[in-house]
Symmetry: C2
Subunit: 291 residues, 2 copies
């Protein structure tokens, strides 16, 4: 028996179409949704990724404004640009690409992105609002996990869900989203001891640790749903997750592939967040507007 | 065999003494630490609690400024007062007592407390900063749990810790603090299914659900450390926790009493946070100052 593969491709398409519909509605209301992408690196793969976001956004009717500050941008300039974009009414969503220039702290910079435009949920205030149940954007990757689980009708309420990884961009926000969905949530990490102690009894295991082959078939039980958030680039350039898919597929009930799983949904969600942000900003400007 | 009682009284005294030393040092540097307590209710027990904070603070050399706005204060006035206190350089820490007047949202109000003066960690930004590892104050009750565990030399790294309750004031911030201490952290709640599924294998169980008798001896294993955060007032006026102490004492290795456990440490931590806030604010004003 082999695990069902939970592809994210159809879901990514559906979410992109939803963003496209929203963008069309917004345009009818006089607003073309716009996503600003701030870059301050000459890293090739970052630029490749930014062009890919731009292409996907434009094809969904969302403008992409790429603000390339170059690899020598100072923290001062970056902060100023992020503040400007936060106040610019023609910009609805803002993402800040990493890596940043040496010496510029990501933690400090993301605090300058206005929460209502923080479509990738990187500002600590966005995370705090998520924790207290106030409106805010979750990091797209964290939401992508929930969307995939929902897409395949995998119940979460009352379930034993184990998240491996405690990062501020995936593990922590995801555990908040899972709690909101009434799961019992366990967060494990590199120092929490043997994984199988927690993963063996889990209904759902989400791996977001950034370590190739971290979770193998010996860690999970039959019936488990395994979501692989890892994106590790091997020396030959190929992309693999955190799951040893070969062994896990023989045991678990279902598994997301890498590539073609969680990652494929993330960009679509960034676009959907941008249209959601634009709709809220339009509502705030024109309180009487329907929709 | 009966569980060891983990009293918080000695620890509370030690922390209060530390705050007192800090206050003396600050006074020597020309600053008398000041805690503002904002009240907008005529609830008797709230006023009783505020007077108790005031007494403890004054005895530790910390001034307490009680700002009583009365039970009819509007959200506008409350917001203005909190913003004023946030900007007032003679105030180092701010706490907002609940309940608030009907129609005034706590969530909205706490956002007006400057994070550097938010000594009870109620602003969502404080929680977000805690999540990403930036300096911030944790809610005093959440930190009190960690302090008690440390006081009794109970290890956390690599341990299986179960937190019952997912509130923004205890469960969530506490799970962040426990992750920071390298525990594997499971958060359960009223909808996560049978408690024993998680608590039976836990090294440490923290109960913060606000439900009398929620955890009983059948839920825990021998060797477990049980921390009771509950403070439930019975019809006869007596205070009990969330733990059925009678049955848990026969099974668990150790248990915090209610009263005299976590709660007794909380006020001392509010005072210590106030001196910590004052020290940081003094440092920001006089960068060269030692200490």
């Amino acid at each position: 028996m082999s695990a069902v593969l939970l592809s994210g491709k159809q879901l990514a398409k559906t979410i992109k179409q939803k963003a496209q519909h929203e963008a069309r509605d917004l345009e009818a209301d006089g607003l073309r949704p716009t996503l600003a992408v701030v870059v301050a690196t000459d890293d090739g793969s970052t630029h490749w990724y930014v062009r890919s976001i731009e292409g996907t956004a434009e094809s969904a009717g969302i403008s992409c404004r790429i603000v390339d500050l170059g690899p020598d941008a100072t923290g001062q300039v970056l902060a100023l640009v992020l503040k400007d974009l936060s106040e610019d009414s023609s910009v609805n969503g803002i993402i800040l690409q990493t890596p940043l220039p040496p010496g510029v702290g990501t933690d400090e910079m993301v605090g300058h992105i206005a929460p209502e435009k923080d479509v990738d949920g990187v500002n600590p205030l966005s995370l705090g609002r998520l924790a207290v149940g106030q409106p805010s954007f979750a990091p797209a990757t964290a939401r992508a996990v929930i969307e995939i689980l929902d897409h395949f009708h995998i119940p979460l309420a009352g379930r034993n869900v184990v998240v491996i990884g405690r990062s501020a961009v995936v593990g922590k926000p995801l555990s908040l989203l899972l709690l909101e969905r009434d799961a019992a949530v366990t967060v494990c990490h590199s120092r929490s001891g043997p994984l199988e102690k927690y993963t063996k009894t889990a209904d759902v295991v989400v791996v977001a640790a950034g370590r190739t082959g971290l979770l193998n078939g010996g860690h999970v039980s039959s019936g488990a749903i395994v979501i692989d958030v890892g994106t590790n680039v091997l020396p030959d350039g190929s992309l693999v997750g955190d799951v040893d898919a070969g062994s896990v597929r023989g045991i678990a009930a279902a598994l997301t592939p890498v590539p073609g799983g969680v990652g494929s949904v993330t960009t679509s969600l960034l676009l959907l967040h941008t249209t959601e942000a634009a709709r809220e900003q339009l509502r705030a400007l024109v309180p009487g507007l329907a929709g």
